[in-house]
Symmetry: C2
């Protein structure tokens, strides 16, 4: 199997991740915060260590790190946690359905409104596009760290700065990028960072992160037992308990902690340059082919994450992906749950074939991928 | 380690569960419904098989089975999915904070009201207590299959029948009981069954189930990418996609499927009689001790799940649990996230020590537990 679908979920996971999950069934198989015996305490300690590791890579504090079942949950919790009647949100035109669908739902219920800012190749213009949409009732800007379809990276730190000047929160969707693109919540004024645990962070599927800034008050989306203040019928105010109801995904968090530690050892910048090298190689190999449309060609000069979308002329993206699958190659075709981004690049009908490498992608596999694409495009 | 805290999470998990999770990292490590290549297809197939197994044990259909991150999420999704402005809910006085806290939150927002029905040793009286609270705007009754603190089993099928006669939905909280207590959604007229995956169903932590009845329309609590209808900004209406946004917990579901298959092989009735035998033995051994309060003594003759709460006179439950922990015994002391139930049995201050066995609990361990309790109580 030749895997280039790390944007969907990373594969393979490091051995340390698989080992951590396996060991969690014997070492930590107890409900943390709900028992005073040894494995329950060890389980709580392991989770705290994972929290600290996550805090380190995002420059935040352990108590601000909330473990969630995935980035979709994190985004729902962030958006609905900030939404008050007549709230206004601003999003970029590259956002995923995990941002747009919650907002559409709230809009349909008359609970909020939202505007879409255009990302252009010009940073200053892009920032202005956001600023021009600021309203008195704007509570937050939500922007992706990098487009999950095209890799385009909006100037998030500049947008966040302008938002803050106007008393507006900044929510980052780092589903694509956390683990290899730098995220400094304190420096870049990111109030909420929503992330997947199973993509660039190399953890298991079923894990996500919601990292909030200090002293933030977020309404809860889910309430229940937290193991704390159990006598109260109300959700506790203490973080992260307030946002972590029910038995945590101990096995998943064990794996995610190991994933983050793996990244800290290898170093995000090395992962990024490895993946960028692969994407650049593929791009250079395919760009001369007449029958191939390379969407990363657009927005030249704009910073891009190692995500490459392409299509073969007169072929549906799903068909191309299926032909590659026949050769044992895993890439994703179709729409990537981001209709706004597809509309922007006129690929709502065709979809795109997306290539997303990882730290484990080899030159040999990359060559095989390139040759297969060339053959199909002949 | 001598483990009697299966009410918090089951331990050990069957080998097949740990193996299924481990293998999922190589066999199914792909995002189901988001790719057309082999592992993505296999991953989707594995999930479908787990869905079918869950449907079988609850007498439902695979497409009605929604995988969630835990029972707390399932209950929040059920309650908030049915809540409309001015809704009224009825709950029992044994409910967990995962039922009470979401309702308290909705009540504080002015979005719903709820009443609490008393469970008494008399079935007919209990049913009447619910019926007397029925209002025109009552949308659902929510009742636990068995108290997570005292094991008391309300007559859920009789309550459900009366609810249905009045056009009221019935939501079952089977966090404690699914896997060893019989649940027949069709026969017992259960509209929504909310369950944990990691307790009686022997799956990994981080898994839960929301099983809905056919043709039910549930509002969504979480929206996002579903891999289906990606071009739409709105959540799809198709189940289970509508209620499963974001990358599923593939590893957890693999383990949960294996857990359910293990139960189907051993048979729930055998698990139940094994656990009942253990609880009866402990009860009989401890009942003559003057210094021990056995809360299962109350409600004599009422059906009970294999859950035993006790206290040693003049000792906080946490202290008793800590002394048992020194002997390598894992039981939970304190409040069990169910303040209503503790209030009912006057244990809101002391808490209780809870013993919850499993299929894997041995006679030897049970004897050791009993002897340790007796020594402490001397």
């Amino acid at each position: 199997m030749i895997y280039f679908d790390n944007g969907a979920t990373s594969y393979p996971k490091p051995y340390s991740v698989v080992n951590a999950v396996e060991k969690s069934f014997s070492k930590f198989c107890a409900n943390p915060g709900r028992g005073g015996y040894e494995t329950a305490m060890k389980s709580a300690e392991m989770i705290y260590n994972a929290r600290e590791a996550a805090a380190q890579i995002f420059n935040s504090d352990a108590e601000n790190v909330v473990f969630t079942p995935g980035c979709t949950y994190s985004l729902n919790m962030a958006i609905k946690g900030l939404c008050k009647p007549h709230s206004h949100f601003i999003i970029s035109d590259l956002e995923h359905n995990s941002v747009v669908r919650p907002l559409e739902k709230l809009k349909a219920l008359g609970q909020c409104d939202y505007s879409v800012a255009e990302i252009t190749p010009d940073k200053t213009e892009t920032v202005s596009n956001f600023v021009n949409l600021f309203r008195k009732n704007t509570v937050a800007v939500i922007c992706t760290l990098s487009s999950n379809v095209f890799g385009i990276m909006p100037p998030v730190e500049k947008i966040a700065r302008e938002a803050h000047k106007n008393g507006i929160m900044f929510i980052l969707d780092s589903a694509q990028g956390a683990g290899y693109l730098p995220i400094d919540m304190a420096k870049d004024q990111i109030d909420i960072n929503c992330s997947a645990g199973h993509k660039g962070l190399l953890g298991p599927m079923g894990t996500g992160l919601l990292v909030i800034s200090k002293d933030m008050c977020l309404n809860t989306l889910i309430e229940g037992g937290t193991g704390s203040n159990s006598e109260s019928l109300n959700q506790p105010n203490l973080y992260p308990d307030r946002l972590e109801s029910g038995t945590p995904n101990v096995h998943g968090i064990a794996g995610l902690g190991a994933g983050i530690k793996f990244i800290q050892t290898v170093k995000p910048e090395n992962i990024l340059s490895h993946e960028n090298r692969i994407i650049k190689y593929i791009f250079d190999e395919l760009k001369s082919s007449e029958n191939i449309i390379l969407y990363s060609d657009f927005y030249d000069g704009v910073p891009k994450a190692p995500v490459l979308s392409f299509n073969i002329k007169n072929m549906q993206s799903e068909e191309t992906a299926a032909l590659l699958a026949e050769n044992g190659i895993c890439v994703r075709g179709g729409l990537h749950c981001a209709p706004l981004a597809h509309k922007k690049f006129n690929t709502l009908e065709s979809g795109t074939v997306r290539i997303t490498p990882s730290w484990f992608s080899s030159e040999k596999d990359t060559d095989f991928l390139v040759n297969c694409i060339k053959k199909i495009a002949k």
